[in-house]
Symmetry: C2
Subunit: 488 residues, 2 copies
């Protein structure tokens, strides 16, 4: 009765869509490019949100909420920003509907045209910096460390569940600082927070680095990124943190008096991660039987299934295990539905990626053991009942570590240092993965490489040592390697 | 140095706006009718959200997320719904901007017109029931108990902070059931959840009842409400829970096979509370010195202020109190800013409604006492240092109870049973408050009363006994009293 999904080897893209649909994470909606995040998918987002929000607060940030709509003229204020964002946007032009002339249906009321169109926010730098002008007048008002959890809309033509949708959920931090150094330190700090979250919670290794000028956020001086590697050898930009210089302060005239009573423009950062992380989570760990979730982000960590069917003795044991584990902070679900067979349930919970399954059968109970199966390796073990409260938390921790180690190994196996153009092209075509190579530092070469291979420079890694070399394409001198990959 | 605010007696409406602004809760944005919820206001909303979300989950609900946009035609599907909601809406007509012909600024690209306009959701019944059609086929899929935290937009002409804004934040529950009885029970349960939240957390007494046909949600069979009374004698609808019958199931063709294999339309409820609750919270408890917050929803419950200025001994005592109270789950802030005088700080924290202030001075410390001031009554007491960890939690609990008792007393004092038209009019004009009166049950009379007095029927209270009487306006026979008030 297992719901079958396409194998990765057959069609990676279809495999991904199958998991999203069959694990009940999301589905298409009636609105082009917008998805419905279903309860199970949203529960994963809630776990992510809770952890990230705690990490933001631990680093001194507070939450606030700014309007969904941005006056059209705001987007034009920062020259680079308008290039990057004022294109594919949802535009509100009217504020009223009325009955159609034929009495059927409703039409837009032409008399209710807005004087200035409103844009559904694609990102909020403009409306927020317009607000900060009134919040900041002195160095005493700084730093201002604000985050917002919100929905944003970018009218994408080609969408994919979680990875690229017209509307998505995210958080956007917007901070204001008295000095350049402090703003840069903030942007770096948030890149570090994102990397910790990806590695410690998502069990997803990431490379920290900076974007090239071409790939930079529209309006940023420096875009710091965390880049992960998916199982098909493509990279995923998982989070970005921008040092915005004084660009938005100048565009919205946000100045402050420093301790010497001199006026100066404010320094800015912004940083964000989105529901795209769910896509990264799926593609990092899952297999041909369905979703695989790291225990720290699994809405249900343990499922208990009676075998072959529920009875009172089994129910008591199940409740006892649930209670014991619950006290230790482990989330447990008992599935005692008598209408479904255990085999059906096993396949269903494998599809949903529940990290640990406990099967309780009468024969096992006579020996005071239960069967514990882990989702990541599919191993099954008989565990004495009186050891369950020790075994399960340790196993969850081991699964978390194993998923990270496995992903890290995968990345090592798909990380090549390449020094000639033929190998570069071959590697991209045959294996994908990260390629560390020299580049001459020009946007022209970067563009040409993208045209020829579809690979982009994912980042200049933070820990990349200086090293003399020749550009992989032009042979021009280069002082350090950058990281190439095809990307989502 | 206290920031002065208008007294309630002078101008209630200005008093409210002053508190919102000077306590740092919200401010107007550059977008007409949309406000910025500032960090302190948002922190109150986060406390509300956390508690409500826990209560929704305890009653079996899960969260999900549906699109921000609703295809225009969806709004026409349910006849009453379109009347109520398809009017003042934000309408998205285009999906692209481009550079202006003069090279300056950006304009809407006329080539990027949507085939069907999209409405920014004013509420989500239509898009959600369109989705439920695919989620429900059998009684096994029911009940479906889903909630969404989201932003919604209603193009209000006259807006007020929190109470009525073009965009607001809310939660909307949308449930599907196999039977009418079960759906009604769900709607009643959520009314009860809202009432418990209002009373136990907001310390705001509410009347539970049903709306008359005129005041019902557009598309509902029965709208259950919780109604609170503000200090100016006006009522506030604080939350509603709707029994929707099969109206949306019919409009979106959502059927299921019951246990006898017969096809039937699904029964529905929806229920919501919004950032409007923050407005209710402010107007229920605050006074002429600023905001007053019930401890259970105060982001900071205790503030410690050194007198006259910080030193090492005081810092140690303050940290020790913070640590002790922190262990008990009390949130404490120490304000050791040497640049502000204690009097300034006192006024500031009174404005912010922090429930308890602890002043630590050297002379008091010699006697091993500190000064504890409560925000609700302004009483100050000397408390021995070694009793603080017992005294403060008990005091917070007492403040919570006192705020509720005080509001309940206010409501008792402004609740009249009236049987003649002259007294009815006089009471409304002179005192406001709730008026329990007989009504002949017709929409015509209800409408006439509203025209004559601006009072509406807030609800038919759930616990209102049957009683023969004559309508306050027409003298026609009535079988029970209903509750009138002027309302926000």
């Amino acid at each position: 009765m297992a719901k079958e999904i396409t194998a990765r080897a057959d069609d990676y893209s279809q495999w991904y869509n199958d998991i999203v649909k069959k694990a009940g994470l999301a589905e298409h909606s009636a609105v082009r490019g917008c998805m419905v995040i279903k309860p199970y998918g949203f529960a994963i987002w809630e776990k992510m949100q809770a952890q990230l929000d705690a990490m933001f607060k631990d680093t001194g940030h507070v939450n606030a909420y700014f309007p969904l709509f941005i006056p059209k003229s705001f987007l034009s204020r920062e020259a680079d920003h308008v290039e990057g964002f004022a294109k594919e946007c949802a535009v509100v032009t009217h504020y009223r509907l009325k009955k159609g002339a034929d009495g059927e249906g409703i039409v837009v009321d032409p008399d209710a045209k807005l004087e200035e169109e409103l844009i559904v926010r694609p990102t909020s730098e403009t409306i927020i910096w317009n607000t900060y002008r009134d919040w900041i007048s002195s160095y005493r008002d700084l730093p201002l460390l604000v985050n917002q959890w919100a929905n944003v809309v970018r009218w994408e033509m080609r969408t994919r569940f979680f990875l690229r949708t017209a509307e998505f959920l995210w958080q956007e931090g917007h901070t204001a600082h008295a000095t350049k150094e402090e703003a840069i330190a903030e942007a770096k700090q948030m890149q570090e927070v994102y990397a910790s979250f990806a590695q410690d919670y998502m069990a997803m290794p990431v490379v920290q680095g900076s974007k090239t000028e071409t790939e930079r956020f529209a309006g940023a001086v420096d875009t710091m990124t965390i880049e992960a590697l998916m199982q098909d050898g493509k990279a995923l930009q998982a989070g970005t943190s921008h040092f915005l210089g004084q660009n938005f302060a100048k565009a919205f005239d946000v100045k402050f008096l420093n301790q010497d009573n001199k006026e100066s423009y404010v320094w800015a950062t912004s940083w964000g991660v989105s529901t795209r992380l769910i896509g990264g989570l799926i593609m990092t760990h899952s297999d041909d039987d369905g979703l695989v979730l790291p225990p720290k982000l699994a809405p249900t960590q343990v499922v208990i299934v009676p075998i072959p069917k529920p009875n009172e003795t089994i129910a008591e044991v199940a409740e006892d295990i649930k209670r014991q584990l619950g006290q230790l902070g482990v989330s447990v679900k008992i599935d005692d539905d008598p209408k479904k067979r255990p085999g059906f349930k096993f396949a269903e919970y494998e599809m949903m990626g529940i990290p640990v399954r406990i099967g309780i059968g009468m024969r096992d109970l006579e020996k005071s053991v239960v069967e514990v199966a882990r989702r990541d390796t599919k191993e099954k073990t008989q565990i004495p009942l009186d050891q369950i409260h020790q075994y399960i938390p340790a196993l969850l921790s081991e699964i978390q570590d194993n998923l990270y180690a496995r992903s890290l190994q995968f990345r090592k196996d798909h990380w090549r240092q390449v020094d000639d153009w033929d190998t570069f092209q071959e590697t991209l075509e045959e294996e994908g993965g990260f390629i560390s190579a020299h580049w001459d530092g020009t946007s022209e070469t970067e563009k040409r490489i993208k045209e020829l291979t579809k690979a982009t420079i994912r980042c200049i890694p933070n820990d990349q040592p200086l090293e003399n070399g020749s550009c992989i394409l032009t042979g021009a001198p280069s002082s350090r390697r950058v990281l190439f990959a095809k990307a989502y």
